[in-house]
């Protein structure tokens, strides 16, 4: 056995798991980036506010140095608070008490009116975000001077927060993905349930615990199960037929075989004496073969248009009965089609039409019409063959249909056609009725039900 392909469920789950992971990772990455951008923007705003606060209180002292007169922000006064400020001018540098000894070294030297953001590190490795603003101080008296006002804030607490958010995002998304996968697995189990049931039932059929599939299938599967059942029933009927045929064949060959043996044991010397037994065996074989050929109904059959085969049969029969001028009319209702094996249909119609040709005086009529019923999705077929012969008396009708059913009571060529037609009809769950025709002779009517 070839290695079996991965199950539908694992295929679906694997694909979905990969998709979910990719989607979750992308979403987490996007959210993380968004959060960091927003966070940095907020930090910049804080630094802007600090710088503006410094400017608002700063004044130039005697040495030409710009110094804030009071520190509104207490963190600037506390060493190691994480918020630092300095004002750099040509005459010296002012640093907030918090920045003393911190090793703050922002490098940006913006021109007056220019604003620069930079990432830097303190002496102890603390990462900071720095903002430098160039200003030109124009006092009422004296000449104007340029300064750079800087504020910086430690990023460490923010980095910790980013990390926390990131962890939260990742765990959240992993949980979400797992939850979705679990849900999908359950959904798959539920929706693939009928398929598993189908599998079990087929295994049961193979093991002989069950004859056909049960009922109550979802709409998507009902076509398949219906066809499978039809196939199973067709196969079973065919098997039964083969069994019967084989039984009949073996059984009916016994008598002529015994007769032959008797002739040999008697020391019969004339080969002609064997002929009747040989002919009998020949007719038995022929008879049983004829019964075994037809295919029978199955799910694999496609609709067969009946007009063409009926016309083929008519022209074939007109050749065979060339000595007898026969007028055969064929009337097929438009669109009449039925899912039947082409060979079976030819056999069915051929036997009926052959019979009609044999017994008619000069004309026969063939009519095919669809047979509709409310419970069928596809219509059945009614095939009528009438002739103007002398008809079949009611008392003989049952006998004609049964004729040759048992091989040992048949005579070759003696109307086995009708009983074969009846058996083919039965293989399609149909019937053959014998009645009287308006033309004066027999009316043979095949009814094959729809599905």
């Amino acid at each position: 056995m070839a290695p079996s392909a991965p199950s539908l469920q694992s295929r679906l789950l694997l694909t979905l798991a990969v998709l979910l992971l990719v989607a979750a990772a992308a979403a987490a990455w996007a959210l993380d980036a968004l959060y960091r951008n927003l966070g940095l923007r907020a930090l910049e705003d804080v630094l802007d506010a600090q710088v503006i606060a410094l400017i608002s209180t700063a004044e130039i002292e005697f040495a030409g140095q710009l110094v804030p007169q009071n520190l509104a922000e207490p963190r600037l006064a506390t060493p190691g608070s994480g918020l630092y400020a300095e004002i750099v001018g040509s005459q010296g540098t002012w640093r907030s008490p918090s920045a003393v000894g911190s090793g703050l070294n922002l490098a940006a030297e913006p021109l007056p009116g220019e604003r620069r953001i930079e990432h830097a590190k303190l002496a102890d490795g603390t990462r900071v975000l720095g903002l430098s603003l160039g200003v030109r101080w124009d006092p009422a008296e004296g000449k104007s001077r340029d300064f750079v006002i800087r504020a910086a804030q430690s990023l460490e607490p923010w980095y910790q927060q980013v990390l926390r958010v990131r962890t939260g995002l990742v765990t959240g998304f992993i949980l979400l993905a797992l939850l979705l996968l679990g849900g999908l697995a359950i959904a798959l189990r539920v929706s693939l349930g009928p398929l598993r049931r189908l599998e079990t039932e087929i295994v049961d059929i193979e093991a002989g615990r069950r004859e056909s599939l049960g009922t109550g299938w979802p709409r998507e599967l009902s076509g398949v199960t219906g066809n499978l059942n039809a196939l199973l029933i067709g196969e079973r009927k065919r098997l039964e037929r083969y069994r019967t045929t084989l039984g009949n064949l073996a059984h009916s060959l016994k008598t002529p075989l015994a007769a032959l043996r008797g002739l040999i044991e008697r020391g019969e010397s004339d080969p002609q004496a064997l002929t009747p037994q040989l002919e009998r065996m020949q007719s038995i074989v022929q008879h049983q073969l004829k019964r075994a050929v037809f295919g029978g109904s199955g799910a694999t059959l496609i609709d067969l248009g009946v007009q063409e085969p009926l016309e083929q049969l008519r022209s074939a029969l007109q050749k065979v009965y060339a000595d007898k001028p026969i007028k055969a009319t064929i009337a097929v209702a438009p669109g009449t089609a039925y899912p039947i094996d082409a060979g079976d249909f030819l056999e069915l119609a051929g036997n009926l039409m052959d019979n009609a040709c044999k017994y008619c005086r000069s004309s026969l009529a063939v009519r095919a019409t669809p047979w509709t019923a409310a419970e069928w999705r596809r219509p059945g077929l009614v095939l009528e063959v009438e002739d103007d012969g002398s008809g079949i008396p009611p008392a003989e009708r049952a006998h004609v249909l049964e004729r040759g059913v048992r091989a040992d009571e048949s005579v070759a060529g003696q109307g086995i056609g009708l009983s074969v037609a009846r058996e083919i009809a039965a293989a399609y769950s149909g019937t053959l009725e014998i009645g009287e025709s308006r033309l004066g002779g027999a009316r043979l009517c095949i009814r094959l039900p729809g599905r």
Partner: protein
């Protein structure tokens, strides 16, 4: 009458050829579809018996090829499977009748004779030309109701002419149709046989059933 047997099974082919020969036919035998197709196209065949279960080129194709080439000689098919599908396929391809295997030779012979009769335009097995009556089933000849004894060859000659009643049949056609392929052909023999036939059918020289058309051949009229 020249008959083509197209049958792949050697025993059956030989048996059929032998039986037809005994029944007064000139036989061409072919073992496969290609050979059979050639024979049907090239030889002056009057009727063919074709087995449908041939190997290689099938019998159906041979029949189609003959019909396509405008050959109108009647064809009888032998079918192994007694199914209408096979019969319809054969008759549709251009065959004229069928016999199902296994068969009795008498049945095949009767069908072949009926086909020949029909292709000659006769609808009854009893051919009647004026006072001469020929029963194709019993192979008997009567003139004015009295039986006439004919040899096998004379019977075949008369049957051939009567099946083509109203048509002129040339001496060369008669030699072709009534002698096996490898026979020495001598049209004088035909003249001799026609002479004998005339004496037997019309000892008093009253009806003169067989006309001679100088340089063209012979003719029997329907009435």
């Amino acid at each position: 009458m020249r008959l083509l047997v197209l049958e792949d099974e050697p025993a059956l082919r030989e048996t059929l050829a032998q039986q037809f020969r005994v029944s007064g036919f000139t036989i061409d035998a072919a073992a496969d579809g290609v050979e059979g197709e050639f024979a049907g196209l090239e030889y002056p065949i009057d009727v063919a018996v074709v087995d449908l279960g041939l190997p290689g080129r099938s019998g159906l194709e041979a029949i189609r090829a003959w019909r396509k080439a405008g050959k109108t000689f009647p064809v009888l098919i032998l079918t192994a499977r007694d199914s209408w599908q096979e019969k319809v396929a054969g008759l549709d391809a251009g065959a004229d009748d069928y016999v199902t295997k296994p068969f009795r030779f008498e049945e095949v012979l009767a069908r072949v004779q009926a086909l020949l009769r029909r292709s000659g335009g006769w609808s009854q097995p009893l051919l009647k030309c004026g006072a001469v009556e020929l029963d194709t089933r019993a192979q008997e000849v009567r003139v004015g109701g009295a039986a006439v004894e004919l040899t096998a060859f004379e019977y075949r000659l008369l049957e051939y002419l009567m099946l083509r009643a109203g048509q002129v049949v040339s001496k060369s056609e008669l030699t072709e149709k009534l002698y096996e392929q490898d026979f020495e052909r001598d049209s004088n023999t035909i003249e001799v046989f026609i002479g004998r036939l005339r004496r037997k059918l019309d000892p008093d020289n009253r009806h003169q059933p067989i006309e001679t058309l100088r340089g063209r051949g012979y003719r029997i009229s329907r009435d």
